[in-house]
């Protein structure tokens, strides 16, 4: 039996409450200013601070681009020195980030290293807006590597392995070294800034705070962090550097990473829990890196939830700004106490209270699915929630998640075009043609991945994350190109429900009931159902995917199987790299929908396609009325099944759960979805009234945070379309 973990809420005194509230208000203000300068932001609100007057003059290669490790390192290092330094008066930590580096210099792959014209033509034809080639980040660093060595230690490590490997081409090590030198100067510059601010500060608490920040940053320029606060400061620095480079946003589990520092400092009386809450709130103010709390040990026998997991949750709750923390949920382990259940309940309570909160990363589907690829199950357990919808093994895996989308509705579109031309119509033939076009899309991405593997390291290396992985520095190889042991490339299918409902509508209305002819269907699609609302409704209002026992559900399973087979059963053609299927569509179902012509499920040209492996809103028919369980069952059933997630989005009306059974019901729903092999739940709890009002006048609700899909954002920051997407989802629920 483990010793009991304190699961109480942290007692935070007025002083620290005030600091945290001030941070919250500052964030809302900064956000407001950003909106005025830049307009709406539909991606994650990563919390960067806008300095409109800051300019950077990059050094370019002959072709007018920045590429190659050395040139990138040189520019990046200088960028770190030149970029504005920042310390918020209410924060316990220094630094911020000022926008992604690509906004300040053109980084790209050299012309001779880009994929062929044919590849580009396919990408164009099928509107593969995220084709995988040259995708950056989307792997998970192990920041512990940095916590153990510090920036200076990382520099020494680079120099040591340069000596050992003696590479003929020193570009890789040059780049890393130039970047680290810039980072160390940037850290030191924050020490200086803190001293200056201390000098001017009259309030004794804040003066002391600036001096402590100065001391920490001096230390961190030369040595690894020594205590909890320095560890938080180092992580904030890591976040800022990582985010600056192509918006990297993943970290290993935060509670495990901070636990040794936290426990040591508490035991020595150097740290109080409320101070820890403030440091953590300052860290979350800095950036919204994805991370996880809770979960099981790699061996599967121990709980990883500890006191710091609760402290982290409290810090997020009290700060009340967008965050990207996940809780790992698993079936209770024997003899390991009930703290994980307490953590889960607390998270759900906070979600109900705040309207948003953590997301729920689900153990069984992720771990057992991953093991089906042929990896030991222990590696599956190590796959941590570190991206909006995705997981990866910190430090060891290059999975390139979230940089591809296979919009299956485009494969269906071209299949229908071909069928129309063939003039002999059958649903079996349509299926064959769909398979054919789907394979063109899948193979295009695989080819792009082969090219990526060949060229990305010498063009645009993972110059930041290489430092935080096991292998790249030791081997002198970029992590995408043999630097780490595990390389498997993700491919996300999208529009499952759109395609399943389309096949089902054809089967029901054309093949079985004969209420419509194929010719008429083609006409309707060509004219986008012009003046044919009733026929559109005929196709639209069938028992859709999500209705128990519907033919659309059978189609969804068949399409899922075909997609998984095409992605998983054959490696990339040239380098035989493993590809793993997922089903995920981010908030970008609008972007893809805009390029997708009308579909036989009655969807208009340009309307959004379906999300993830989720049924379309309004799917429930006949005796089955909508319920979160019905939707959850459909998502669980159609998982891609190899350890990459297909999220379930739940938008819960607070009216449904405000009575006492509400928390229990949601906790049960989360556990049940985990046991049914679901992989991830993203949840909002808002009252219908508030959401509609905020949609009408977002500026009146600058505080309202929602979970868009895997990421959360200020509602007011989103474009009208994205807000509409959330409102639609909510109303149909």
């Amino acid at each position: 039996m483990t010793h009991a973990i304190n699961t109480e809420k942290v007692n935070v005194s007025d002083r620290y409450m005030q600091l945290i509230h001030n941070l919250h208000d500052d964030k809302v203000k900064i956000n407001d200013e950003k909106l005025k300068i830049r307009g709406s932001i539909d991606i994650d609100d990563h919390g960067f601070i806008c300095f409109p007057d800051f300019h950077f003059e990059p050094e370019y290669a002959e072709d007018g681009l920045v590429h190659g490790p050395k040139l990138i390192g040189k520019n990046f290092g200088r960028f770190m020195r030149e970029m504005p330094k920042y310390i918020n008066r209410n924060s316990a930590l220094a630094t911020c980030w000022v926008g992604v580096i690509q906004e300040f210099m053109k980084i790209g792959v050299a012309k001779e290293d880009r994929p062929s014209k044919e590849w580009h033509d396919t990408v164009e034809k099928y509107h593969i807006l995220q084709p995988g080639f040259a995708g950056m980040n989307h792997l998970c660093p192990d920041v512990n590597i940095g916590l153990e060595l510090g920036w200076k230690g990382l520099l020494d490590k680079v120099r040591k392995y340069r000596e050992i490997n003696q590479p003929e081409n020193t570009d890789f090590y040059d780049g890393e070294e130039l970047l680290l030198l810039g980072i160390i100067d940037w850290v030191e510059a924050h020490a200086k800034l803190a001293e200056e601010l201390a000098e001017k500060e009259t309030d004794p608490f804040h003066k002391q705070n600036y001096l402590r920040i100065a001391g920490m940053n001096h230390n961190l320029a030369t040595q690894p962090p020594q205590d909890f606060r320095e560890a938080c400061q180092f992580i904030a620095q890591f976040q800022s550097v990582d985010r600056t480079y192509f918006a990297g946003g993943a970290t290993n589990p935060l509670d495990r990473m901070l636990k040794p520092y936290f426990e040591k400092d508490i035991a020595q009386g150097k740290l109080t829990e409320e101070e820890a809450v403030w440091y953590l709130a300052s860290l979350f103010f800095n950036d919204t890196h994805y991370s996880q709390i809770g979960g099981v040990s790699p061996a599967g026998d121990r709980e990883m939830t500890s006191r710091i997991s609760f402290v982290i949750l409290d810090a997020m709750h009290l700060l009340g700004i967008p965050n990207n923390m996940g809780i790992r949920v698993h079936a209770p382990l024997e003899n390991q106490g009930d703290s994980p259940e307490a953590l889960l309940r607390r998270a759900v309570e906070y979600t109900i209270e705040d309207g948003f909160g953590v997301c729920y990363s689900l153990e069984k589907g992720i771990t057992e699915g991953y093991a089906k690829n042929g990896y030991p199950i222990e590696l599956g357990r190590m796959r941590t929630k570190c991206g909006c919808n995705w997981v990866a093994i910190p430090g060891h895996e290059y999975p390139l998640q979230d940089v591809t989308r296979v919009n299956m509705a485009m494969a269906l579109h071209y299949a229908l075009e071909d069928l129309k031309a063939e003039k002999e119509y059958s649903i079996d033939r349509l299926w064959e043609l769909f398979q054919h076009h789907l394979s063109i899309m899948v193979n295009c991405i695989k080819e792009g991945y082969d090219k990526h593997y060949e060229v990305i390291g010498r063009n645009v290396p993972e110059i930041v994350l290489n430092l935080f992985m096991y292998g790249p520095i030791e081997r002198g190889l970029n992590c995408a190109n043999g630097g780490v042991d595990v390389l498997n490339l993700n491919m996300d299918g999208i529009a499952l429900a759109t395609v399943a409902d389309s096949f089902a509508a054809i089967q029901q209305r054309i093949v079985e009931e004969k209420k419509m002819t194929w010719e008429r269907l083609f006409e309707l699609l060509d004219t986008d159902f012009k003046d044919a609302e009733n026929e559109r409704l005929m196709l639209h209002n069938i028992k859709r995917f999500g209705s128990p026992g519907s033919i659309a559900e059978d189609w969804a399973l068949k399409i899922r199987d075909e997609y998984v087979h095409q992605v998983h059963d054959t490696p990339t053609p040239k380098h035989h790299l493993m590809t793993i299927p997922g089903m995920f569509s981010h908030g970008d179902v609008y972007m893809y929908g805009k390029k997708t012509p009308a579909t036989p499920n009655g969807r208009h040209n340009g309307d959004p396609i379906s999300h993830s492996s989720e049924p379309d809103p309004g799917f429930a028919r006949g005796i089955d009325t909508f319920s979160p369980a019905l939707k959850a069952n459909a998502v669980a059933k159609t998982q891609a099944g190899y350890g990459n997630s297909a999220p379930l989005h739940l938008d819960i009306d607070t009216g449904l759960i405000e009575n006492e059974g509400g928390v229990d019901a949601l906790v049960a729903l989360i556990h049940a979805h985990e046991q049914m092999d679901g992989t991830l739940i993203n949840m909002n709890c808002v009252s219908k009234e508030k959401l509609l009002k905020a949609h009408e006048d977002p500026s009146a609700y600058p505080d309202l945070v929602v979970r868009v899909t895997g990421y959360s954002a200020f509602f007011a920051s989103l474009s009208k379309e994205y807000r509409q997407q959330i409102v639609d989802r909510f109303l149909s629920a």
Binding site: E533, N534, E535, L537, M538, H540, N541, P548, G549, G622, I623, D624, T625, S627, P628, A629, L630, N633, L656, I657, N659, G661, G662, D664, A665, V667, A668, L669, H671, A672, Q675, M676
Partner: protein, 291 residues
């Protein structure tokens, strides 16, 4: 032969009809007709047509294809439905892709219903929930009910029956062994008031209630509270229930949710008052010892 039941809704995630998260199966047909019934489509045992004119796209399919000539366009362009010559073919609903005309009530066999119940078993297991059979009056289809209860119990699922209790006691006997919990509605105490409000007196209802409590089964009383209709009965019900200290009673405050369905059925709600105020409900609960 496989038994079939007439049901009109399966709700997959209810936290209001017994412990934990529950799947609720609503049976069609009731032998009361409470003035406030919020499931008016549950009263008739027959399949019925619901009409939502705001969804109509004017395709005229119903008018063209109805063998009973029940659908007409009135002088002012309004869609008139006269079901006196209806042949109950439900073609109009099938043809109405806009879902302005919807048939309510479906014959389903026990396998179908069990499949849906079982698909939610993990939710029951984690929440201490189960299945609740409701309606309408589910005990009017007692053979079908009894089969579903048996099969649910065999699958290790907690079972609840939501009833108004106006059936012969023998029907209770048929299902006693397979029912873990009864949700028992008491709508009025005085027989004549009960008759006024629901169409039948409550003699048999209270007798069954007492027998049920005596049988040792877990019984949970639910009292709908409709301001201006049955609120005079609350003190009497509270008083009556004092002799059954083992029984918990819950007050269900009125909500107007079913009113649009009266209109869709071509009738009018008999009660048209706003939802009951939460604070008023809380005061009544406290006063009469309901939860």
């Amino acid at each position: 032969m496989e038994k079939k039941g007439n049901i009109f809704n399966i709700q997959h995630f209810s936290i209001h009809d017994g412990p934990g998260t529950r799947t609720v199966v609503f049976f069609k047909g009731c032998n009361l007709s409470c003035k406030w019934c919020h499931n008016p489509e549950s009263i008739s045992p027959k399949r019925q047509i619901l009409f939502y004119p705001e969804k109509c796209v004017g395709c005229l399919a119903c008018i063209k294809n109805c063998p009973g000539k029940c659908h007409k366009v009135g002088e002012n362009g309004a869609h008139i439905i006269d079901l006196s010559t209806c042949q109950r073919c439900f073609k109009c609903c099938e043809d109405c892709y806009a879902e302005a005309l919807v048939a309510v009530g479906e014959e389903k066999d026990a396998d179908y219903v069990m499949r849906e119940i079982l698909s939610n078993k993990p939710y029951f297991d984690y929440s201490g929930g189960g299945v609740t059979f409701s309606g309408g009056e589910c005990m009017l289809q007692v053979d079908f009910l009894s089969e579903l209860l048996k099969r649910s119990k065999e699958a290790g699922i907690h079972t609840a029956v939501d009833t108004a209790g106006n059936v012969p006691w023998e029907r209770f006997e048929k299902i006693l062994d397979d029912t873990d919990l009864f949700l028992y509605d008491i709508k009025a105490f005085e027989p004549e008031r009960h008759k006024e409000l629901t169409g039948v007196d409550n003699k048999r209802i209270l007798e069954n209630f007492e027998k049920l409590v005596a049988s040792g089964k877990e019984v949970f009383v639910r009292i709908p509270c409709i301001p201006g209709s049955n609120d005079d009965q609350l003190p009497l019900i509270s008083n009556y229930l004092e002799q059954f200290p083992q029984v918990t009673a819950e007050l269900l405050p009125y909500h107007a949710m079913g009113n649009s369905k009266y209109i869709a059925l071509g009738s009018k709600p008999q009660i048209d008052i706003p939802n009951m105020d939460k604070k008023v409900a809380a005061r009544l609960k406290e006063k009469y010892h309901f939860i």
